[in-house]
Amino acid sequence: MTGSAEVGPARWARAVGHGLYRSAVVTGVTGVLPAIAVPVAFFGFRFARTWSADLSAPLAVLVLVFVGEIAMTLLWTGAAGWFVVAFLGRPLSRAARWAARRWLGVTVEPRYNPVLPVTRMATGFWWNGYAYHESEREARRRASLDARHHDPQLRRDALWLLVAAVTVLPAAAAPLACLAAGGYLLTQAGLLGCGIALCVVGLAAAPFGWRLLGPLGVRLLGASPRSLGRRVEELEAIRADLTQNQAAELERIERGLHDGAQARLVALGMSMGAAERLVDEDPDKAKQILAQARSSSAAALAELRSLVRGINPPVLAERGLVDAVRALALDAALPVEVRSTVPARPERPVESAMYFAVAELLANAVKHARASRVEIDLDYGERVLTATVTDDGVGGIGAAATEPGGTPPGTRPAGSQQAGSGSAGSGQAGSGLAGIERRMAAFGGVLRIDSPAGGPSRITVAVPCALS
């Protein structure tokens, strides 16, 4: 009862306290760029003016010199701004995202370029996903720098810092400025009233000013809205994958039926025919053949069962994702703990894709990670279904597979080639991950991998969906 029973003044005091603290943080986060750029501009201009201080020349020349001085000042200011963005853009934007999420519940997902594995091209150069280098060492050393340099998100961060400096910063800093000014006036004789009024305005505004962070952050802190052309490219790749997957699936099912159940049924029919002919002359032999036929029919059933399990696992059809994953965990060769907060069944296609993704991740953990235990968490929140598979294995799972669209154009040409190039550095587990990533991409889902060498590994699959 503490929250609601709290009396008016106390609640106000708390709101104002929080407001002041948050205003200060938001001011700090958005104020770095102007705090560096404005003094540079100011003193830069003053310094530039000294060049022509004692110059006496015709007016036209003076105007020209003045323009040159302004251009010089702009150059210096731009350089200062560039340094701030290059070195502080990412942490400052991250801090702003943190504040927006923590205090306003606004979640914005940035899309920074991932560091990709280094591969050797046929030309002998080394490609780190963004640039070519002559040696592998150089390519590795420059990998994170190149990823950052070619990052469209960095330009978004710069835009955020610029816009925030003239919008969020004044709004958040105004209450603090009022307080400071009011406090100063209080010390001046005769201005007591003004001082008190300013302080009251500052305190009253404190809980509100910084909230401008929310609406602006939503627009500017996230990933850049992709151009239509880019989106078409991505969709084309996804469609190519889907058609290919579908054809491969059909082929697999056809082969399973043709080589398995169908062949067994033919054999069964032949055995029956033989038994029919023999039943009068050699009843014993006929009985023997019939017994064989029965075991053959049992084998056909077993084959059909395993085929069905690969298409639409029975527990998934009967109980849904959570119990199907539990059943999977029980059958695994490792102790697997399954936790779930998913309240209902997701849409069927998503459910199936998610199930096979988790099955593959679990199989990877068992086969490649040398793990001793695995944990699977299934969660649903904000219309996104996530599955997290954590193991205590050796880690170092290929950083090849990453968020779709997070890679710059050119690194993943299209469709089937993705699997090949994506898994180049990471072997079998990597190609499986690329497959999962492509299947989830069809649903707008993403795959996140956190697997430092030496482990532990944590892989998250997230896909937007509705629950039934």
């Binding site: 399990r309 009967e318 029980l330 102790p335």
Partner: protein, 217 residues
């Protein structure tokens, strides 16, 4: 015995009814959907029921849910669950009330009429009849300290048959050994696994499963 059959495929239901009647039992109700199955189980209180996991109207695990619901109202009501696939998950749910009278078999097992009716009889007597496939999965589960490692191959195969619900005599017949030898093996298994021996087949299975559960993940 009075038997209830719940199976939605007409041919299979018909076949089951004939099979059960051929062995001298009476089929008191043969139904084809989940709600009907629950109704029949509660009104007829059969000596044993044969229930398909997947039934209309939802074609999910209606049959299993009906059986579990009926057993909540009539504890220990003997039910033999048939399915196209066997899952540890479902086996655990069925065995959870520890009252026995539970069968869980692949539909394929119907092909061997003698073994099937034998399993049906064991369930009706309050025992268990688990499909060998699910037993293998249960015993194949990873355990932190593998208590089964201490068992010899022969003891392990005896344990597997025991988990299926077979009596010493039946195990002896399967393995072509004398009953005395089997009882020696079972005593040794119980000693190695640290379970107090009991005559009751049902309790033996429960002891085995409980042990595996407790030492598992």
């Amino acid at each position: 015995m009075r038997v209830v059959v719940a199976e939605d495929l007409f041919l299979l239901r018909d076949g089951l009814v004939r099979l059960v009647e051929a062995y001298g039992h009476t089929v008191v109700a043969a139904v084809g959907s989940g709600p009907e199955a629950l109704d029949a189980l509660l009104t007829h209180r059969p000596d044993v029921a044969i229930v398909d996991v997947r039934l209309p109207p939802t074609f999910s695990d209606e049959g299993l849910q009906a059986a579990l619901a009926a057993r909540r109202q009539i504890p220990g009501l003997p039910v033999l669950i048939l399915s196209q696939h066997v899952e540890q998950l479902y086996a655990r749910e069925l065995l959870a009330d520890e009252r026995g009278g539970i069968g869980y078999q692949l539909k394929d097992r119907v092909l061997d009429a003698d073994q099937f009716t034998d399993a049906l009889q064991r369930v009706a007597d309050g025992g268990t009849a688990l499909d060998p496939t699910v037993v293998a999965k249960l015993l194949g589960r990873p355990t932190r300290v593998d208590p089964l490692a201490a068992l010899t191959d022969r003891e392990r195969s005896v344990l597997e048959l025991m988990a299926e619900g077979l009596s010493n005599a039946a195990i002896a017949a399967r393995l072509f050994l004398s009953e005395g030898a089997i009882s020696k093996y079972t005593t040794s298994i119980f000693a190695k696994l640290g379970i107090a021996a009991a005559d009751d087949t049902n309790r033996r299975v429960r002891a085995v499963l409980a042990y595996l559960d407790g030492s598992g993940a």
